[in-house]
Amino acid sequence: MKRHITFILIALLFSSCGRRAQQAPSSPSGASHSAPSAVIMETPERAIYFWKSVFKINDYETEFLKGHDITTLYIKMFDVAPDRDWNTGETGVFPVATTRFVSEVPEGIKVVPTVYITLEAMLRSAGKEEDLAEKIVARVLAMASFNILGPVEMVQFDCDWTASARDSYFALCRRAREILGEKGILLSGTVRLHQVAEPEYPFDHRVLMLYNTGSIKNPDTRNSIIDYDEVKKYLKRGKCPHSFDMAYPTFGWTVNFKDGQFTGLTHGTNPDSLSYGPGETFRIETSEISEILKVKTLADRAAGNPPHSNIIYHLDSTNLSKYTFDEIERIYSD
């Protein structure tokens, strides 16, 4: 009897969590102010990041979007980083690496403009978060308008915040969420594994980054892009306190070291194309489908399997062509 009661209690607990996660507000802006919990899309979507400085997509990529029924494109619009003012020469926090739009966004694709905010920018912006939030939002929306990206329903902020910048970054997000909310736009935020235990996030919508899981600069790291064992440390079955959309990697690179010290990254993963001098070593890192799917199973279980969108990082024919159609489908599958 006792066992039955326990089972019922557990079942109730899980079902109530699931319902809460699936609740979508009737008015996104209204919900964003009153409810701290995240908004999960009623219908999970297939999405992909675009993370290059020139928005130009080739035929393969266009076909990829179409073939996999991808409906959402997260496009990085610019980075926010410390830099020098061109006019005064003084150092401040500015938009850098602004994406130039050459191609048009394919029909039927919804764009989520994304802004990468560096940790250094946040550390420099303490006390000036509101002003920065207003500038970022204004610029993102101006870019979306100028480049005819369609009606913006959501903007995403991406920042690898640490404890020292957390309060500042959250203050920035709260202000941005407020401004966007007034326009009926949601704020999405990326969450890295080390940030997963955060009790509350100042976003309407969250994306859990299941890549860049290891320390890239550590020569002992097995694979800094995706490593099941690393992810496992953070995600325990059914114990993920939040609901997330999940982002998976489909890229690779070569990490270079000299005398055990990290020296940089090289695009490409072909060992034959690499030449190295004395003391130089390298680590080729790829996103193997088997590892991605292992992580996906783990992440889905940890999240309690509520419906969520899956996002691939990122739209690049060189990397994506290494996966079969079915493999990509398995990443996108519920």
């Binding site: 830099d83 020098r84 003012d85 061109w86 006019n87 005064t88 020469g89 500015f94 938009p95 602004t98 500038k135 204004a138 610029r139 929306l141 101006a142 870019m143 308008s145 100028f146």
Partner: protein, 708 residues
């Protein structure tokens, strides 16, 4: 469980021997920032603004209106406030009163247009700006442009100004051919003066955009327009120009531009020295020598500036050249250039900097003979006057608050920084190398203590105000200065101990002018120096010498040492100090016993006596460099630096040789008990009092008793 004492001793022996002592610090006095080119208190380049304001004064025809009042209206009034200008009582601002009394709506309208234009341009040029449909900025600019063109064409007193605003708007809209046409038409009518010059600044932009880049750069350089130069150079090279890229352009045209001094100061601060920001303890203010190529480029730029006939301040450029030469390892050349700088036209600020550099280079380049000492006395008198004459409340407050900056060699008061840099960083090491240890002590003493003694006021957690004497005499306050500063490092490590004693003796002797000058500004407590000398002798295992020196100290003095809390540790492990209080005459007692052990080891004693002395000596030797480190040092870090490994091994040899020498089993067992070799005692020395003691007091060895 018995044998409490020996177990506790064992625990203490194993525990990390950490002390509360501080320092010496990672930053060295030599790291202090020497370049001093720009005076932050000096105003910027107000010339253009002043001329513009005078132009308004002329236009209003009322020289009685102050430039300050005009400046306030022209630069500070908002559009709303300008709208509010009208007849009313008590208008304080003279220019506003003029506008209201004379109903100069034309001027008010113009000022509003200029402000709107400025605001719109600010948005356009902001790095955050991204053009988008409906942002209104383009239409605003176009409307301003059209308004200005119409007003300019209408003529009148403000037409030149409207041409200027039209050019500004058109620059923003990138209408360069149209600007050219406008200027061709307006040029003949615009009189010489600041407005015309400002118009030409915008026309230089047309030159730049239409391929005449060099013409444009030259124009900006001549006008001292750093902002435009930076913009154009970035456009040309694809990256933001560095300090010397801009200086290269400007030095030949506008060498007296104060902004250039600020830029050079910033460059030296950023590139040659790390300015400690407080963000990280590990961030070190370290000298990075600049490359010969960089230094040569700086020298060329400086020569160009000095070569400008109208240059009013060549001393600045020669000073910078000397700095570059020195930082690239050419100190002698630097000295010659700096000498030239001292004879060149300049200002008081830079001459002071030149004098400091001269003292510094003299310290680096000179032979330390009597002539140098005479010069040094003269220079130190000057530097000392600067220290005492320029002291501010801010500096006093830093000292009062505990002088952390002073203790860690962090820049906080230029004159004192330079005293420490030159004396501790340059002069003292070379004096020591030349065998002038006592003079090095004197110099370091002044460099470290001058400012402290001068302010002579410290606040601690429990005391609102203490003199330095009260602070130093206290047995409860941790002395943060005297056991970590540059002087201490010299007497604790760098000069022979004899020099310390010689210095102490000389304090009462006849002194040279330099020595007297230094002593008058120093900390002259003989006991302090003798105590350090005595400790050095203990560390050098010259125990008889140590006894001779330490006997001169009052017994109470050891309680003023930061290390007195560690003086409860018995180096010979004879008994556990249950009181936890320091042993009286800790160092002296130790030195006496070690000297006595030596006598017993070498004298006509039997093997047992000699063996015991050897064990005692070996234990004392080891302890004084490990567990009882306060006998030989003032600081012990948690890191095992292996500095004394060899001595510890020597101590072990004395102990094992001593044990081997002892024939009497009873004596040997007692010595083994002291060495905590209890197992050996119960196994091999059963019928001894030591074994009896162990078996009665230690549960661990109960089994051995049963067997017995």
């Amino acid at each position: 469980m018995k044998l409490k004492e020996s177990i506790l001793i064992s625990i203490l022996l194993l525990a990390p021997v950490l002390s509360r002592a501080c320092g010496p610090y990672e930053w060295q006095a030599a790291d202090y920032m020497l370049p001093r080119i720009w005076d932050p208190a000096q105003p910027g380049n107000p010339e253009d603004d002043r001329r513009l304001l005078r132009d308004w004064q002329d236009l209003a025809g009322t020289p009685a209106i102050s430039l300050e009042d005009i400046s306030n209206v022209v630069f500070n009034y908002s559009v709303e406030r300008l709208d509010g200008i009208g007849p009313r009582e008590h208008i304080e601002n003279g220019f506003e009163r003029y506008l209201a009394d004379n109903d100069r709506q034309d001027i008010i309208r113009y000022l509003k247009t200029a402000k709107e234009c400025e605001k719109a341009r600010g948005c356009y040029y902001s790095r955050w700006y991204y053009p988008s449909a409906g942002d209104g900025l383009s239409s605003t600019m176009e409307e301003i442009r059209d308004r200005c063109l119409a007003e300019a064409a209408a003529g009148g007193q403000l037409s030149s100004r409207y041409v200027l605003q039209a050019l500004r708007a058109m620059t923003t809209l990138q209408e360069y051919p149209r600007m050219d046409s406008l200027w061709r038409a307006a040029d003949p009518a615009i009189p010489d003066g600041i407005i015309r010059e400002m118009c030409l600044d915008y026309m230089a932009r047309v030159d730049f955009e239409t391929g005449k880049k060099e013409t444009a750069l030259r124009h900006y350089a001549e006008r001292g327009d750093i902002s435009s130069l930076r913009f154009c150079l970035k456009r040309m090279n694809g990256k933001l120009p560095g300090c010397w890229d801009i200086l290269e352009q400007m030095a030949g045209f506008d060498p007296d531009n104060i902004e250039l001094r600020r830029m050079m100061q910033e460059w030296f601060t950023d590139n040659v020295m790390h300015r400690y920001t407080g963000d990280s303890y590990s961030e070190r203010m370290s000298m990075r020598i600049i490359s010969i190529a960089d230094a040569d480029r700086i020298c060329r730029i400086c020569d160009t500036a000095v070569g400008v006939k109208s240059c009013r301040n060549p001393a600045v450029w020669l000073y910078v050249k000397a700095l570059a030469l020195d930082l690239s390892g050419r100190s002698r050349e630097a000295g010659a250039v700096n000498d030239k700088a001292s004879l060149s036209a300049g200002d008081d600020f830079i001459w002071d900097s030149i004098r400091v550099l001269s003292i510094y280079l003299d310290a680096k380049n000179s032979v330390y003979d009597s002539a140098y000492e005479a010069r040094l006395l003269r220079d130190l008198r000057w530097l000392d006057a600067k220290i005492t004459g320029n002291i501010t409340d801010e500096v006093r407050n830093v000292i009062k608050a505990g002088a952390w900056e002073l203790r860690v060699n962090k820049s906080f008061y230029y004159w004192n920084d330079m005293l420490k840099k030159i004396i501790l960083g340059e002069v003292c090491p070379r004096m020591i190398d030349r065998g002038k240890g006592t003079l090095a002590i004197r110099l370091a003493n002044m460099a470290d203590n001058r400012l402290l003694n001068y302010v002579d006021c410290l606040e601690t957690k429990h005391h609102s105000s203490l003199t330095m004497t009260q602070y130093r005499n206290s047995s409860t306050i941790f002395n943060c200065f005297d056991y970590s500063n540059g002087l201490f490092q010299i007497i604790d490590r760098k000069v022979p101990v004899k020099d310390i004693e010689k210095y102490v003796r000389s304090l009462d002797g006849s002194l040279t002018g330099l020595e007297k000058f230094l002593d008058d500004r120093s900390y002259k407590n003989k006991t302090y120096f003798l105590e350090v000398a005595g400790t050095r002798y203990v560390r050098e295992m010259k125990y008889e010498e140590a006894v001779r020196v330490l006997e001169k100290l009052p017994s109470s003095y050891q309680y003023r040492l930061n290390t007195s809390v560690y003086m409860d540790r018995d180096p010979f492990q004879t008994a556990f100090n249950e009181s936890g209080l320091p042993y009286p005459d800790y160092k002296l007692g130790f030195a006496r016993r070690m000297a006595e052990d030596r006598r017993r080891m070498s004298g006509n004693f039997g093997p047992d006596e000699r063996g015991r002395a050897m064990i005692d000596y070996g234990l004392g030797l080891k302890s004084s460099f490990s567990y009882a480190w306060a006998l030989t040092a003032y600081f012990k870090s948690g890191w095992d630096d292996h500095e004394y490994d060899e001595l510890l091994q020597t101590g072990d040899r004395y102990i094992s040789n001593g044990l081997a020498m002892i024939c009497d089993k009873e004596i040997k067992a007692l010595e083994l008990l002291r060495l905590q070799a209890r197992l050996e005692i119960v196994q091999h020395y059963r019928n001894t009092s030591a074994c009896d003691y162990v078996l009665r007091h230690c549960d661990e060895y109960r089994d051995y008793r049963k067997k017995r």
